[in-house]
Symmetry: C2
DNA sequence: TTCTTAAACAAGAATTATTCTCATATAAGA
DNA sequence: TCTTATATGAGAATAATTCTTGTTTAAGAA
């Protein structure tokens, strides 16, 4: 995203434009499913004084505004996902690697399945797959 | 589960039978997707001296042995699931409630879908749905 | 049954991720 | 340029989890 697009992302959500928030957005674009710590390390390369609290606070703000999402994991470190389109996640069973998985055919299959089959006492808002397995290539 | 079944669960995995481990198993049977803290509170009703570290250590052991599983969440408290059969999870979008969802038809649909459609560079081991939404009834 | 020993436990200290506090700085509209 | 609500930096505080150490105990051997 260009600088002006990053700024537009913020103003569209009613957020002030600050260097820290722009750095966060840029970091989120360039790191896949990062932890807060990943982001801090990345940002401090160019912006050494950013405070840890600011990063956490800003991530929280972005989640509230729907700019990013939290990723569910079995670890006690939170991870974030800058992509908010409907997609699924591939979880490595041997490491902490997580990749996005886009599959429109699957989305439609799920949509039609749950359109026809209700879950008693539950109103579905979103369905996501956690696909556990092994990546064949290193990365 | 009867006491002898609980004991068999442990010996089958090569674990020594201890009162603490039996209490853990019983707590896990009677609490849905509990946190470590939930379990400690439950066990201390009858077993006031169990140490927090023992609960964490034992949960870790049970996960390693496949007796229970960790449940992925967006919170920084771990939750556990005593049911290791293939099933999915319903996550409440407004609270921390999580329920199990069993659907054999869905499992077969997913199995046949991924039998036919490979994910490039990825070997699937397990597929689980995270179903986000609202519970209609309180509980 | 008693003995032996590796494994498990209790208690509390240590660690780590995250949140909070508050004084200062700054974005954005007037 | 001024004003003010909001954001930030720095570091303290918190909460979940892990680690350490001395003691106890389960389970097989004698």
């Amino acid at each position: 995203m260009s600088l002006s697009e990053l700024k537009e992302t913020l103003t569209a959500k009613g957020l002030k434009i600050t260097p820290q928030r722009l750095a966060l957005l840029e970091a989120l674009e360039n790191n896949q499913h990062p932890t807060a710590d990943n982001i801090i390390g990345y940002i401090r390369q160019n912006h050494p004084n950013i405070a840890i609290g600011t990063v956490y606070k800003t991530l929280e703000t972005f989640v509230e505004k729907g700019i990013i999402k939290k990723v569910k994991t079995e670890k006690d470190v939170m991870r974030y996902d800058a992509i908010t389109d409907n997609h699924h996640h591939l979880y490595c069973s041997e490491s902490d690697r997580i990749e996005d998985y886009f599959d429109e055919e699957l989305n439609q299959l799920l949509t039609s399945y749950f359109a026809q089959k209700q879950i008693p006492g539950f109103q579905i808002e979103d369905v996501k797959l956690q696909i556990l397995g092994k990546f064949k290539n290193e990365n």
